[in-house]
């Protein structure tokens, strides 16, 4: 269906269902329970899951398929964000032009960076992209202040022209909207102890993310995608086979840059401001972690990786010592103190430590990321199922 084969269609529909029902699925704990702080079903975080999911899907088209490891993709996200905010300042608060121009500008910038960086491969390519990203970050922070507003970050103002829209509504800045539907509009549904929030911005992100995911599946299954995998496998053979690998890698680079721009534009649509820190190398590194954690080269892995990291960043970091003492209140005082002392470095501000350990464990024991874990579990279950039914023949010995 939709030009996808059976397996991909069912994967796509699974993702559609998960994304559509996320406000339910991510809020499994009643509002007043102790575990409510593990709920991730609030609009801000759910939007971030999808936006960074898009970022990682795009990064995976470059890194997962061609094996070119870019350490500068946050620059494209940043360029996209600035372009988006400027559209809102100059044109209209409708998010469509903002998102569109984010993609265009990120695409143009990635064409420039890619053209230069792709003259080298391997570690030199990574360093070149890193240098470009850091350069962009520094420029945005200092020299380009008239465009980027430097340290304060680019924000909307009351006296912005907004040629197509209006400068101000009732003396305040108008809200980002989609043809009049404000992005922060939410509908809350209380069911028993549970409270579910359905947010307009989230569902816009959902539609965009599903479209981006669909395009990624098509690219993976296309002759173009096969050529990209061939680049990763053996570039020398590729050249001697009559394929010019350069435009292929450049196209992959620009496509992934446009995905990053799309993510940046959506960030702006959800929250109309842009800062230089979005371009910093830690942000570029984060998308690398997301992709590897989820499973580079797999379709859905990077999205899972993005969700995993964002969940940790937002939920784990909220657990502090007081929360721990509450949990251990049943234990004797001394023991609770010891436990809190031991766990303390791993929670709250120490969430990076936990994430780092999990990342190391996954890379060492599951080099294929979360997706490899899921696959292994799947194989384990299917083997069990098979052994229940009498097996037809012993597996053929390998040659």
């Amino acid at each position: 269906m939709f030009g996808l084969d059976k397996k991909d269609t069912s994967l796509f529909f699974l993702v559609v269902v998960l994304v559509a029902l996320a406000p339910f699925l991510l809020n499994p704990f009643p509002e007043n329970s102790e575990l409510a702080q593990f709920n991730a079903g609030y609009p801000d975080l759910m939007q971030r899951f999808l936006i960074f999911g898009i970022f990682a899907i795009g990064f995976n088209i470059l890194f997962g398929l061609t094996g070119y490891l870019s350490f500068g993709h946050a620059a494209f996200l940043g360029v996209g964000s600035y372009a988006g905010v400027w559209m809102m300042k100059l044109l209209t608060m409708n998010v469509i032009p903002a998102i569109f121009m984010s993609v265009v500008f990120a695409g143009l910038f990635s064409l420039l960076v890619g053209y230069i960086s792709l003259r080298r491969s391997g570690i030199y390519f990574s360093i070149l992209t890193l240098a470009f990203a850091q350069m962009s970050f520094s420029l945005a922070y200092s020299v380009l202040t008239p465009i980027t507003a430097g340290e304060t970050g680019l924000q909307l103002a009351l006296d912005d022209p907004r040629i197509i829209g209006v400068s101000a509504v009732d003396g305040s800045i108008p809200a980002a909207n989609l043809f009049g539907l404000p992005m922060r509009e939410s509908f809350e549904l209380a069911m028993g102890g549970w409270l579910f929030t359905f947010n307009a911005g989230y569902y816009l992100c959902a539609v965009v993310m599903l479209a981006a995911f669909y395009v990624a599946i098509r690219i993976f299954r296309s002759p173009f995608g096969m050529m990209l995998r061939a680049v990763k496998s053996n570039q020398q053979r590729m050249n001697f086979t009559g394929v010019n690998s350069k435009p292929y890698t450049l196209a992959a680079f620009v496509i992934s840059g446009m995905y990053a721009g799309l993510a940046g534009g959506l960030m702006v649509a959800m929250d109309p401001l842009a800062g230089a820190e979005r371009m910093q190398w830690t942000a570029s590194g984060e998308v690398v972690l997301m992709t590897i954690l989820g499973g580079a080269g797999t379709l859905i892995g990077p999205v899972l990786g993005a969700g995993f990291i964002k969940y940790f960043e937002n939920i784990f970091s909220k657990i502090n010592d007081n929360v721990l003492y509450e949990w251990f209140s049943a234990l004797p005082d001394g023991l609770a103190d010891v436990l809190v002392f031991v766990i303390h470095p791993f929670i709250g501000k120490g969430w990076h430590l936990t994430l780092g350990i999990m990342f190391m464990l996954i890379v060492i024991f599951l080099p294929g990321g979360i997706m490899e874990g899921i696959e292994r579990l799947g194989r384990l279950f299917s083997r069990k199922k098979k052994s229940e039914t009498p097996s037809r023949a012993a597996p053929a010995p390998a040659e």
Binding site: R218, P223, F224, G225, N234, R237, N239, F240, T241
Partner: protein, 251 residues
């Protein structure tokens, strides 16, 4: 008609003169072998022809196209394919994909942004690749990952990749290096069979058995110079060739 004509090619690496004024030509539709002791400059010569190395002076003409200065993919696109000394294949891809890539390169050229086509629904390319795998006897393994093949099978796969492009000229760099006698004979049979397609072949080889069962003309290279050229049976008895191989003269 001469399909390949090499004139006055020189190549030095620092002080080492690897190729010294080499003149060489190949008739269309023939099988020609280049032999020579280790370090004679055979691989350098091949690399100069294929665009991996640029000769210092001299010309390499393929029909009326000059190959000097062209990039590897451009040389392939005019109809020259190459089999490497150690098989160069796409180790992470399936056998079928390994053949589909050169077939696509032949049909769509050096770059095509078919990002929305479905590779598994391209019947033309798939059929071609499947036939090619049948031809070399790898059809039943078409969905295995190429990296897991034995060396002999990898070589056959690489040959099939080249043949799927219907090249006008096929360059083979030691196609039986490191193979068992049985595998070598299989490869010879395979190369003989594809001879029927009218593909001109240049074979670089150590193994005299292979050379004498395949080649119609043999060129002997020693210390960067061509020292003899002729029919296999003439070359066999040539004292200069025996000297070069046994290395008695310059002691």
């Amino acid at each position: 008609m001469e399909i390949l004509k090499v004139e006055g090619v020189n190549k030095s690496f620092g002080g080492l003169k690897a190729l010294n004024n080499v003149n060489f030509s190949v008739e269309e539709g023939t099988v020609q072998a280049i032999i020579g002791p280790n370090g004679a400059g055979k691989s350098t010569f091949l690399n100069c022809m294929i665009g991996r190395l640029a000769p210092d002076t001299g010309t390499v003409m393929f029909g009326d196209i000059s190959l000097t200065g062209l990039k590897p993919h451009e040389i392939n696109q005019v109809g020259v394919s190459r089999v490497f000394q150690t098989p160069e294949i796409f180790g992470d891809l399936t056998l079928l994909e390994n053949i589909m890539i050169p077939a696509l390169a032949k049909r769509d050229g050096e770059f095509a942004l078919h990002a929305f086509a479905r590779v598994d629904q391209d019947a033309e390319i798939r059929d071609k690749a499947t036939h090619m795998l049948e031809d070399v006897g790898l059809a039943e393994k078409k969905d295995t990952i190429a990296g897991s093949l034995s060396r002999g099978d990898k070589r056959r796969l690489e040959l099939a990749m080249c043949l799927s492009q219907d090249p006008k000229l096929l360059l083979l760099d030691e196609p039986t290096a490191g193979m068992s006698r049985a595998d070598t004979n299989n490869t010879i049979d395979l190369l003989k069979r594809i001879g029927d397609r009218g593909i001109t072949k240049v074979v670089i080889e150590h193994d005299m058995h292979v050379v004498f069962s395949l080649a119609e003309k043999v060129t002997v290279l020693a210390q960067g110079t061509i020292i003899a050229e002729g029919k296999p049976e003439d070359i066999k008895g040539d004292p200069r060739v025996q000297e070069a191989y046994l290395g008695g003269a310059h002691l």
